[in-house]
Every structure is written in structure tokens, then in C-alpha cells.
């Protein structure tokens, strides 16, 4: 586990930023940031949502040009070529929001822009086997012939990672690669990263998961509000102090106190023997005021199950009953009307209108609340935005920015706010804190807990185990489309969950 | 010379197939000729692709201040209102070729008529006389009234004979479509005696289709309009094109000449002037041959 073994401390500086500033449409987001990356080190880049991490990473990989400042590569000031052409200089990036074309297969995506040909003809066999090899290295079971459009979001992330890993790079930027990955997949990734690091590759690792940063990285740089705050070896820091550097204040306890729901509270949602294409025979119940967690590995079928419950997918069999009323299969409205809302984790293609502004996104699902007879009241919408920004700490420097240009974490907050605008009784949240900084995470956990106290019921689907453990009073573990375990009280621990998720332990669903 | 200033607007359909291109050609030709004869005369020629835009064109001509309108309506009934509007302002109106259902002096001063029913009738009568027992296939134009009139005329022409119409389909006055339709006729009917395609443009496609199929049962093709290519064939004694029925695009020129005569001549010109659907045969073909025309 120790990351201090390699000679990361004194490698030569490969790439560095000198007094980099960046403005979008006159709004400054980076203020004279300095940053050094040494050969063979893993360098964490930390900061709150909207601090400018992604922007810095994009500048250092050529995807954005700095407004001022210099980029130094191997001791020479350079102007990086745009649109990923910096790859020729050995610089690759895993984007925070992936860049995959839905109509291509996994293999085609992996080799896009650098296809291998023999006599001008695509060498499809070679590319396929190469893809398989890289995916296997990462422990991913994704089919190399599958269409990108058919992949779950986590699998897309794996493809994105594989794409970067497979290039012979000197510098790899990883912008929140693990946000949707479960512990298992993360471990595979880290193994590869360490291996490459030991061969001299440098990594920049952006993440909001403090434990991962502690575990993997050699040095940490913290940004706050677009300014450089500190760079220091990871070994002399701990999670607390990093969080403090990021947020600029002391953090209180991350998770609110758990509150066991009353056993004779009414059952608001009951799922009975639901099957879909992949999900098989799943049953569980949720009580009023309860927070139920769902854990499992990539592709264990959690998303598919939740979508079936929310009416976004039709069920092959089984019943979903809300407040004693059966909900017809594949009918979103019926579920919505009965007070059930589902928040997708695929914010980019299913959650937000990337070309619309905050307000249009925020109220899209709850327009009935903003005006009568179909007429919309701009004032009421503006109020809602004000409220949401306060509640979820959505920080944008430019109030008119379109959703697609907001920082990843702030997009996530906006999505959460959008679903909450519908004031649901039962809320299914898929990855509630994907890409959200620790400060806001705490805020969101308290918000969820408050909702439960209010008598709402919440299902939290998360690949972040501490989150499930810290927040939920019951945890269902899924594996290959089935619920293989239902943990309660003291049973809820990382080891237990892992055992069920990996299929080492099995018990009848509660 | 002190000649009075006269502006004449000419509104015609856009050159969307051979015949209309002939119309455009003759309108231009006669306009130029007349303008050189009368220094005070200004003729503005405008083409439009469909009735609605022709109505616009009429309006635009009126905006420019015209003394007379010569119009060959692409589809007469939809244009009646627009024409009446012009006529209501006291402008001299000459309608060419296609008459609206109400065609009296409330709508126009002069009507120069191509004779659509006669075009069909002449063809019908020729077939009746030459091959009284013929089995005929027909290729129609577009589904608009003049086409219907030609069909009715044809039926009248073959009345009382054994001439049998096997089929009628639309060829849209387009060579490529006529080629297809003819190909399919040849597949469908093992024996065809005569093709009536009522338009020289379509005849080009028909002849190629027959040629390709190497069919010998077809005795001849009757087209119509009087394009230089078809007239030439008649003149040369082509067996497949023994005759052509005249429907001269030059009639627009005639109307224009008469309109000008109304302003510069001694007698006012009013009434109806019909141009015959002459049967062009080997004997009279050279009278109708204009090698310089694009049509």
C-alpha cells in the first residue's frame, strides 16, 4: 500500500506551469497558478468544486490555452497543440466528462484517431486483441465489440481509462477517474498506475476521495478559488489537513448521526420479485423515513433495477407498489405521480441539458410548480434557483453559464437540486456525491439525513462504500442482477459488503 | 421620333421542361424584336415556377407600373384573382394558352389560345385514321387541368373507332420519368401498337426505351408541341415519328405582338384568337422548323 517506495521525491521536473491564469468570457477562474510535475510521481490535485482543477489540467494538456503564463516541458517553454495533439508529446488526459462517441465500439473508441492499418486497411484483429489486453489489465469485463451506447457509465469510464493507459505516455492526467468506480475497479486501476509510475510515467490525479489520494499519491497540490494554496508530500499530510486546506475551515463530522427508523413505520415502497433483462427476482421494502443503501460492483445491476422501479425501463415480471398502489411497468409518470423520483448518475447524457442554463435545467422536472395553466413565471423560477444555489452550494462565477460549462461537481449539485425540486416522497439517488468535494459532501449528507427525518424515504445507490456505511441504516448488496445480501446495524462494514459483492458470501434477501 | 412610352409585363412559367423553355425563348426573342422596333416600348419578362409565385410576379410587375400584362398562367384558375386585380386597375390583359374556367372580358382583353383539347383530338384522329384497331398506351403530363383537357380531346378524337387505350400514366413532362413509364409499359403489355405521349420531351425517353427493349410491335409514337428535334425527325421521315402535333410555344410571341399592336397600331385588339393544333407531317414540317430555338 505504501506509495513512498519509489524515488518519486527527486525525479526531474517534466512539466510545469508558471503563473498560469485563465479567463472564460472575461471571468477569471485561475489566478497565476504554479505547478510542477516530476518524472515518475503521482501528483494529486485537490480543491473544492469549481476551484479550477479541471481547467488547469486541460491547460496542461493543450485542450485550453492559458490567458497568460507559461507551460514548461522538459525545461523549455512550449505552446501545447490543441485538441489532443499534445499526445504526440506524450501527454494524455482522462477527461472528467468522458469523450466517447456513442456509435463506435469499444475497440474503435480506444483507437480513435490512431487506428492501426496494414497496407491502408484497418487491422481490426490486432486492434481488438490489443483492446482486450488493456481491458484485462484493468480487470474490466467490458466486451471489446460492444457499442459504447450500450455500456453503463462505469464501463464507459473504464474504456476512457483504458484509452489513456494504452497510449505510450510520459504524463497522464486523470480527472476524477474513480468517481463512478467501485473499490474493486479502483484497486485494479491503482495497480496499473503504480506499475507505470515505477516505469517513469508521471500522473496527475484529481479526486475528491481523500482516502484514495492518501493511498496513491506522492505529492498533493491544493487549489482554492483558482489560486495555488500549497504543494507538499502526501506523507506529511492527513485527510483532515487536506480537507482543511481545500475548504479553508475546519470540517466537522462528515456524516450525521444515524437514526434507525421505527419498525412499525408504514412501508412506502415495496418491490416484489422484479426482473428485467439482467436483474433477476429482486424483492425489498422501504419504510417511511428510512435510508436504504445499495452497494455492489460495476454492472451488478443496481442502475437497471432502480430504473425499472422508477418506470424508466419496463419490467419483465414483478410488482412495484408505492403506498399500497401497484405501479404499471415502464410508466415514469405513474411513479412520479405517486411521489417517487429517480436521480440518474449519468448526468451528461441523461441528467442535464448541457446547452441550457441553470434555471431551465433546475425546473425542468417540476415546471408545474412555477405557474398556472402551463404558463411559467420567471420570477418563481428565479426564486427556485436562488434557493437551490443556497441549499446545494452551487458555485458558478458566471450565472448565465450553460450547464455543460459548469465544473463537474457543480453539475452534480444542480442535478441533485433538480430532482429535489419535485419534492418527492421516495427518492432514489444514484451516486449522490459523484465528483463532489468534501465540504459539500458533508452538506449533502446532512441534507439527505434531514429529508429522512422529515419522513421521506431515500435509496442511496453508491459505489463509495464509506458513504453507504456512514449514511444508511440498511444496505442491500447486489451481484449479477440479484440482491445477495441485506445488511443491518453492526453488520454494515466494508469487509462484509465486499464479501457479498465478490460472491464469497450469500444469503437470502431480507 | 416621338413615340409614346409603353411598359408591358410578360409573366410566364419558368423553363421547367422543353415546352416552357420554348415559351421563354420566344417571349425573349419577340420582346427584343419589338423593343427595337418601338423605342418607347419596354417589355419586362418574368418567369415563375408555380402559381403562387406567379401571382407574386404579377403583383411585382404591377408595382413597377405596367400598361399591359401578357400572361401565360402556369395554372389558370388559381391566378384569376391576381389577374383580376391587375385588370381592375385598367391595365390591358392578354391571357395566353391556358384559360381560366371563367374566361370573359371581366378577366382579360385578349385571349390567345393554344388549343389543348385540339392537341389531344388531332392526335386521336390521326391514330384513328392511320391505325383504326390500334392498342395505345398514353403517357400523361402532370395532374393539372390542361393535361386533363388533352386527355378529353384525345378520347373525343378516337371516338367511334376500335382504338383501345391500354393504360394512362403520368410522366410529368420529364424525359427520365417517361423513359421509366415506357419501360414498364413494355414489360406490362406484350403488344403495343402506338404510343401517345403528347409532348416532345417525353418522346425522347419513350424512343430510347423502345430502342433498348428492341421491340418491333410499336408502329409509331405521337408526341406534340413542335420541338426542333421532333420536327426534324418528321422532316427526315423517321418511321417512329411520322407526325407531330403542333402546340407552338411561339404563341406567347404572337400574343405579345398583338398587345403591342393594340398600343401602337390603329385598331384596338380584343377578343379570342385561337392557334390551331396543326398536324405536322413530312410535307409541311419545314415550315415549323426553327433550328436556333433551344426547344
Amino acid at each position: 500500500m505504501s506509495s513512498q517506495t519509489s524515488g518519486a521525491g527527486d525525479g526531474a521536473i517534466v512539466l510545469s506551469a508558471r503563473r498560469i491564469s485563465k479567463s472564460f468570457n472575461g471571468v477569471q477562474v485561475l489566478f497565476g497558478v504554479d505547478f510542477d510535475l516530476r518524472a515518475g510521481e503521482i501528483h494529486a490535485l485537490m480543491g473544492e468544486n469549481g476551484a479550477g482543477k479541471s481547467t488547469l489540467v486541460k491547460i496542461l494538456s493543450g485542450f485550453e490555452q492559458p490567458t497568460s503564463g507559461d507551460i514548461i516541458l522538459d525545461g523549455h517553454s512550449v505552446k501545447l497543440p490543441p485538441n489532443g495533439a499534445a499526445e504526440a508529446l506524450g501527454i494524455v488526459i482522462i477527461h472528467q466528462e468522458f469523450n466517447l462517441a456513442e456509435h463506435l465500439t469499444v475497440t474503435e473508441s480506444l483507437f480513435l484517431g490512431r487506428e492501426v492499418t496494414r497496407f491502408g486497411v484497418l487491422d481490426r484483429k490486432f486492434m481488438r486483441s490489443e483492446t482486450r489486453r488493456v481491458l484485462d489489465l484493468l480487470g474490466s469485463h467490458v466486451d471489446e465489440n460492444a457499442m459504447i451506447s450500450s455500456l453503463s457509465i462505469a464501463d464507459k469510464q473504464m474504456v476512457e481509462i483504458a484509452k489513456a493507459i494504452s497510449r505510450d505516455a510520459r504524463v497522464v492526467f486523470m480527472d476524477e477517474p474513480t468517481a463512478v468506480l467501485s473499490r474493486e475497479e479502483t484497486n485494479f486501476l491503482f495497480k496499473q498506475v503504480r506499475k507505470l509510475r515505477d516505469q517513469g510515467t508521471s500522473f496527475v490525479f484529481v479526486s475528491h476521495k481523500l482516502d484514495e489520494v492518501m493511498e496513491l499519491t506522492d505529492r498533493v497540490t491544493v487549489l482554492r478559488d483558482g489560486q495555488w494554496i500549497k504543494t507538499s508530500p502526501t506523507s506529511i499530510l492527513d485527510g483532515e489537513s487536506i480537507a482543511q486546506l481545500m475548504v479553508g475551515r475546519e470540517l466537522s463530522k462528515l456524516y450525521p448521526a444515524k437514526r434507525e427508523p421505527n419498525v412499525d413505520e408504514e412501508i412506502v415502497l415495496s418491490v416484489d420479485a422484479v426482473s428485467t433483462g439482467y436483474v433477476k427476482d429482486v424483492s425489498f421494502e422501504v419504510r417511511k423515513g428510512e435510508i436504504l443503501g445499495f452497494s455492489g460492483m460495476i454492472g451488478s445491476g443496481r442502475t437497471e433495477l432502480m430504473e425499472a422501479i422508477a418506470g424508466l425501463r419496463s419490467r419483465a415480471s414483478g410488482e412495484v407498489v408505492i403506498h399500497g398502489e401497484a405501479v404499471p411497468s415502464g410508466d415514469v409518470h405513474a411513479a412520479n405521480r405517486r411521489g417517487l423520483a429517480y436521480m440518474t448518475k449519468d448526468r451528461k447524457s441523461k441528467g442535464l441539458l448541457l446547452n441550457s442554463r441553470m434555471t431551465a435545467n433546475l425546473t425542468l422536472q417540476s415546471l408545474e410548480n412555477h405557474g398556472k395553466l402551463g404558463y411559467l413565471s420567471p420570477a418563481s423560477e428565479a426564486q427556485a434557483l436562488e434557493r437551490a444555489r443556497r441549499r446545494f452550494d452551487i458555485r458558478v462565477r458566471d450565472g448565465n453559464v450553460v450547464a455543460g460549462r459548469m465544473s463537474g461537481g457543480n453539475q452534480q449539485k444542480l442535478l441533485l437540486a433538480k430532482v429535489m425540486e419535485t419534492e418527492p416522497e421516495i427518492i432514489i439517488i444514484d451516486e449522490p456525491t459523484r465528483g463532489i468535494d468534501v465540504g459539500t459532501k458533508q452538506q449533502i449528507y446532512h441534507f439527505i439525513s434531514a429529508l429522512a427525518r422529515d419522513g421521506r424515504s431515500i435509496i442511496v445507490v453508491s459505489s463509495e462504500m464509506p458513504e453507504v456505511i456512514g449514511l444508511c441504516t440498511r444496505v442491500a448488496v447486489m451481484r449479477e442482477g440479484r440482491i445477495v445480501g441485506m445488511l443491518e446495524g453492526d453488520e454494515i462494514s466494508e469487509q462484509e459488503i465486499m464479501r457479498y459483492a465478490a460472491g464469497l458470501k450469500k444469503k437470502a434477501a431480507a | 421620333q416621338e413615340e409614346k412610352k409603353v411598359t408591358i409585363g410578360v409573366s410566364i412559367p419558368a423553363a421547367d421542361h422543353g415546352w416552357t423553355s420554348g415559351v421563354v425563348f420566344h417571349a425573349e426573342r419577340v420582346a427584343k424584336l419589338l423593343m427595337s422596333q418601338h423605342p418607347g416600348l419596354n417589355v419586362i419578362v418574368k418567369t415563375s415556377p408555380d402559381p403562387a409565385s406567379q401571382a407574386n410576379a404579377v403583383q411585382d410587375l404591377e408595382t413597377q407600373g405596367i400598361d399591359a400584362l401578357v400572361i401565360l398562367p402556369s395554372d389558370p384558375d388559381p391566378l384569376v384573382n391576381a389577374i383580376k386585380e391587375v385588370k381592375g386597375k385598367g391595365t390591358f390583359v392578354a391571357i395566353v394558352d391556358r384559360a381560366p374556367s371563367v374566361n370573359d372580358n371581366t378577366v382579360r382583353d385578349l385571349y390567345v389560345a393554344g388549343n389543348n383539347p385540339a392537341l389531344g383530338q388531332t392526335a386521336g384522329e390521326y391514330i384513328k385514321a392511320t391505325t383504326p384497331d390500334a392498342e395505345v398506351v398514353i403517357i400523361r403530363g402532370l395532374p393539372i387541368p390542361i393535361d386533363q383537357q388533352r386527355q378529353d380531346g384525345f378520347d373525343k378524337g378516337i371516338e367511334g373507332s376500335n382504338v383501345k387505350v391500354l393504360d394512362r400514366q403520368f410522366g410529368n413532362w420529364n424525359r427520365d420519368d417517361a423513359f421509366k413509364v415506357m419501360q414498364d409499359y413494355l414489360t406490362k403489355y406484350p403488344k403495343i401498337d402506338v404510343v401517345w405521349c403528347q409532348d416532345d420531351d417525353m418522346a425522347v425517353g419513350v424512343l430510347q426505351a423502345i430502342d433498348q427493349a428492341k421491340r418491333t410491335d410499336i408502329q409509331y409514337v405521337v408526341a406534340g408541341a413542335g420541338s426542333k428535334d421532333m420536327i426534324k425527325k418528321v422532316m427526315d421521315g423517321d418511321k417512329m415519328i411520322p407526325v407531330d402535333v403542333l402546340y407552338p410555344p411561339a404563341m406567347v410571341g404572337t400574343a405579345l405582338e398583338m398587345t403591342v399592336a393594340n398600343f401602337y397600331g390603329q385598331v384596338p385588339v380584343r377578343g379570342v384568337y385561337t392557334i390551331d393544333a396543326t398536324l405536322v407531317t413530312k410535307d409541311n414540317a419545314k415550315d415549323f422548323y426553327f433550328p436556333d430555338s433551344p426547344f
Binding site: 424508466l312 402551463g374 | 408555380d50
Partner: protein, 336 residues
């Protein structure tokens, strides 16, 4: 710090408003350029009379294009509108010729209702085939285009369908040729339709849904929007707009045939795109559309009024003008 952020926000808002305005204003800039060009070509051009004429006759395309703005914003396409005009107009005239109601005024009212219902039903058919049948709108409406035009040909038996009753014609005529407070009726109708459309698109829940569906149908579905219903209604709105255009068309020409409205679908779509709405869907610009329709009509008008262009070249020059107009728009927006 708080205040500084606020200041920035305000600043940005001002700037980005400028940006947006430019994009919306671009078609109007092209329009003004055309007006200047027209004035140079022919002094009669800039006369109130001529401009009123042009605006009046742009009514058909403009109103149809308003409907197309909805369909295109929601990510679909309707190629059947031209044929639909012919079909609905034929039905309406046949209805009036049928003489089932003796009183002309009453008959006219009934005929108007009849046309509106017929148009909506045609739109509904398009919508259902596209959404329920899950066929590409391009193909679905190409199919119904054939159907509507075929039925028109059949109704007219290859000829024309003409309004017979002179009394009816008399009372119906002002619907196109009349004017209200000196403004020609068609212009009033354009304005009314546009205002209503702008209200629906920008100020109602349905309008929001249209844009959401057009910009990302998945997001819309996950937001609980009934995607198919929204799309179908857009087609019905298109049908309604076609019906309104028919209501103006019939009194103008008093007759229809199988060639009525040929290629109007292309013109309507062009008006929408020239007006700044992207064919990909996800954004609708109702006022831009009107401007686009007006631009198209103006280009034709300028061609007609200019006397130095060979009429053989008119098409070529029209094409050039449209491309140049779009380039002007682009360069304007890019500069922002």
C-alpha cells in the same frame, strides 16, 4: 468577496446578453442588408406598397414555418406541409362547394372549422406515425407527403378544384385582400400567430418541454417528460399552422390543384433555418423564423424587380444570396 462575485455576475450577464442578442439579431441584420440591396436595385422596391405586398405574400410560408419551428425544435422534421396545404385546401373548397349549408356566412364559419380540424388531423397522423411507429420523421412525412398529394390529385381528378359560389367568394375575399386599420389581414395574422407561438414556446411548460425533447430526448425522458406526446403535439401545431395558411390561401387564389404548395416544405424549413433555429433541434427562434420567411420572399421580389438579371440565372443568384446572407449572420455572431 461576495460583492465582487456579484459584480462579476452582473458584468457577465450584460456581456452574455449581448452575445445572445447578436445571435437573435443576426437574421434581422441580413434582412436589413437585403432591404438596402433592394433599394439600390429598384426605387419602387422600398415603397410601402411593395413591402406590404411582399410581407403579405410571405404569409403562407411564414405561418407554415412557425409550425415547422416547433417540429424542428423538438428534433423532428415535416416534409409533408406543402402537400398538406393542397390537401386541406382541396377539402375545404369541396366542403364549401358541397352546399350543405345555405347561408354563406354560416357556411364559411363551418368551412373554417372544418379546415382547422382537417389540418390538425393531418398533423396528428404525421405525429403518430413518427412517434408511435418510430419511423424517422424524414421518411414518415415523405410518405404522408405522397399520400396527401396523391389524395389531392385524386380529389381533383387531375384538374383544379375551384370555389364555385360567388357569394361565398365575395365574403371570403377580404380574408386575404382586406386590411385592418390599414394593415393587410395576412400581416395581422402573421403577427398574431407569431405572438401566440412565441408565448407558447418561451413562456409555457409545453414550450420548455419541446426544447428539452429536442436538445436531448433522454434527459427529457429521465425528467418525466412524455416525450412522444410532446413530439406529437408539435406535429399537430404544425398541422394547425398549415390550416391557418390554407385559410389565407383559399381566398387568394380561390382554387387548388395537385401542384398547390409544391416545394413549400423546403421553403418553410429554409425559413426556419435562416431564422437561426438549428435543424438538430433543441432551440427555437420564432421571430427569426418570420424574419427568414420574409428574407426568402424578399430575395424573390428583388430578383423580379431587378431588370438586368437573365431570368435563366435567377435560381443561381437566389442561391448565392441565401448563402451570402448566412455568411453575414455567421460573421456577425462570430465577432461577438
Amino acid at each position: 468577496m461576495d460583492t465582487s462575485v456579484n459584480e462579476e455576475t452582473r458584468d457577465v450577464r450584460r456581456r452574455s446578453w449581448r452575445d445572445i442578442d447578436l445571435r437573435a439579431v443576426a437574421p434581422f441584420a441580413a434582412l436589413i442588408l437585403l432591404l438596402i440591396l433592394g433599394a439600390l436595385v429598384n426605387p419602387n422596391f422600398i415603397g410601402l406598397n411593395n413591402l406590404a405586398n411582399v410581407a403579405t405574400r410571405s404569409a403562407f410560408i411564414a405561418i407554415i414555418a412557425i409550425g415547422a419551428t416547433f417540429v424542428i425544435s423538438s428534433g423532428d422534421l415535416d416534409l409533408s406541409v406543402g402537400a398538406m396545404v393542397a390537401f386541406v385546401a382541396s377539402l375545404m373548397i369541396l366542403f364549401m362547394n358541397s352546399g350543405v349549408i345555405a347561408d354563406p356566412a354560416l357556411m364559411l364559419t363551418a368551412a373554417v372549422l372544418f379546415a382547422v380540424v382537417a389540418g390538425s388531423l393531418c398533423g396528428l397522423a404525421n405525429g403518430l406515425i413518427t412517434t408511435v411507429g418510430r419511423i424517422e420523421p424524414f421518411i414518415a412525412t415523405l410518405g404522408t407527403m405522397g399520400i396527401y398529394r396523391g389524395l389531392t390529385t385524386w380529389l381533383s381528378q387531375g384538374g383544379a378544384i375551384t370555389l364555385k359560389d360567388p357569394a361565398l367568394q365575395e365574403i371570403y375575399r377580404p380574408a386575404y385582400f382586406g386590411s385592418i386599420l390599414g394593415v393587410p389581414v395576412p400581416i395581422v395574422v402573421i403577427l398574431a400567430v407569431t405572438c401566440i407561438a412565441a408565448f407558447i414556446l418561451y413562456r409555457t411548460r409545453y414550450g420548455r418541454h419541446v426544447v428539452a425533447v429536442g436538445s436531448n430526448a433522454d434527459v427529457a425522458r429521465y425528467s418525466g417528460i412524455p416525450v412522444n406526446r410532446v413530439r406529437t403535439i408539435a406535429f399537430v401545431i404544425q398541422g394547425l399552422c398549415v390550416a391557418i395558411a390554407v385559410l389565407l390561401y383559399v381566398p387568394r387564389l380561390g382554387s387548388t390543384s395537385a401542384t398547390t404548395g409544391i416545394l413549400w416544405e423546403l421553403q418553410a424549413i429554409t425559413a426556419v433555418v435562416v431564422g437561426g433555429t438549428a435543424l438538430k433541434g433543441g432551440a427555437g427562434r420564432v421571430w427569426g423564423t418570420i424574419c427568414g420567411a420574409f428574407i426568402l420572399e424578399l430575395v424573390g421580389n428583388i430578383m423580379l424587380l431587378s431588370n438586368f438579371i437573365s431570368e435563366y440565372l435567377i435560381g443561381a443568384i437566389q442561391g448565392t444570396i441565401i448563402i451570402v446572407a448566412m455568411l453575414v449572420q455567421r460573421s456577425l455572431v462570430r465577432k461577438s
